[in-house]
Symmetry: C2
Subunit: 189 residues, 2 copies
Amino acid sequence: MPGPSEELLDVVVGLLVEHGFEGISIRRVAASAGVSIGAVQHHFPTKDALLAAAMARVDDQVGAQLLRSAQAASSPAGALRAVAAGLVPLEPAERGAGVVWLVQVARAAVHEPTATAYRASWQRVEEALARLLGAARPDLGPGAVLDRAAALLALLDGLATARVAEPGRMPPSRARRLLDHHLDALLAP
Amino acid sequence: MPGPSEELLDVVVGLLVEHGFEGISIRRVAASAGVSIGAVQHHFPTKDALLAAAMARVDDQVGAQLLRSAQAASSPAGALRAVAAGLVPLEPAERGAGVVWLVQVARAAVHEPTATAYRASWQRVEEALARLLGAARPDLGPGAVLDRAAALLALLDGLATARVAEPGRMPPSRARRLLDHHLDALLAP
DNA sequence: CCCCGGACCATACGATCGTATGGTTGGCTT
DNA sequence: AAGCCAACCATACGATCGTATGGTCCGGGG
């Protein structure tokens, strides 16, 4: 059961998905959560702290979800496929997570504190992908594994971007097909 | 020679690169351009019109640049390579265009007018890539051409995102290597 | 029983925002 | 010379912003 702070963060995430960073204000968060301005201030001293906590929360949730799906797989190749699929908002219900990722990475381009957090998170993602790919393709050298993991991550980011911003051009079926095609070629001996 | 409106738009783009959409206000644009608030209002009636015009301007500039580099190539494969390289901010000097693209696509996720303009633009980009790829690989069926063009565009978007938000993890040399590797495999018979 | 600290609220302050209004140039046309 | 129009400016209005301040409520430990 989430505490009151977590409920506030979920409200922030909801507003972030709907209106982006520009649409977020302490007053709106308070109103949307049904509390007063002071309540928000009580849990998070400044707006920056509130936004940072909200982004850290979704980061943790996504990371935990990826870890779970990877551990549920029976082979490194299966785990790689699961993690890759988890990084692209294929279903419309996953669009929220994709929007949060997109507005966060755009903020990282112009806001240094956001950038440091994002870089650390995505560095870990690339390393995880490389680890799984190295286990699934023991014939590849370590340099090739790193580069192909980075290329895979770039494709995943691009698919996520298209899914979020252009769902018409990139419907779920197409995203899935492009992802599977790339993974098939990547995992072929 | 750019008129006063274009100078204002260039100022907007500069602020966009430095601070994103959140850092843009009529007053800041006016101050940064060395004119009054009323001057900005005279050329663009509202803030939305100003932002839309600024994004349309960079869109036109990028499109013209891509068209030029494609026409300068001597083969469809060369044109494809040129267009692909032009869509990724490889050099640090091109980072500005990448930042504008990233903040624009993030805004498209939460702002419908931005989304419609972005979708139209990127739809044209995918079609151009597919046309060049179809000419370079006549052995491919039209469906395969479309899908591989979309996968290439996703990779380019992901590389651009990483170049802008994580220049440490994705230095120019690595982005170029990943791009060339993908294009080599794509253009191989 | 007291009281104390965390959770929450009401309100206020100064700053900044987008936009509206009306006036002032300065060059060009007729 | 007269007038017109685009370009530009100074200022003002109401709204919203982030944050600070001081109070109220209430459940658990002394």
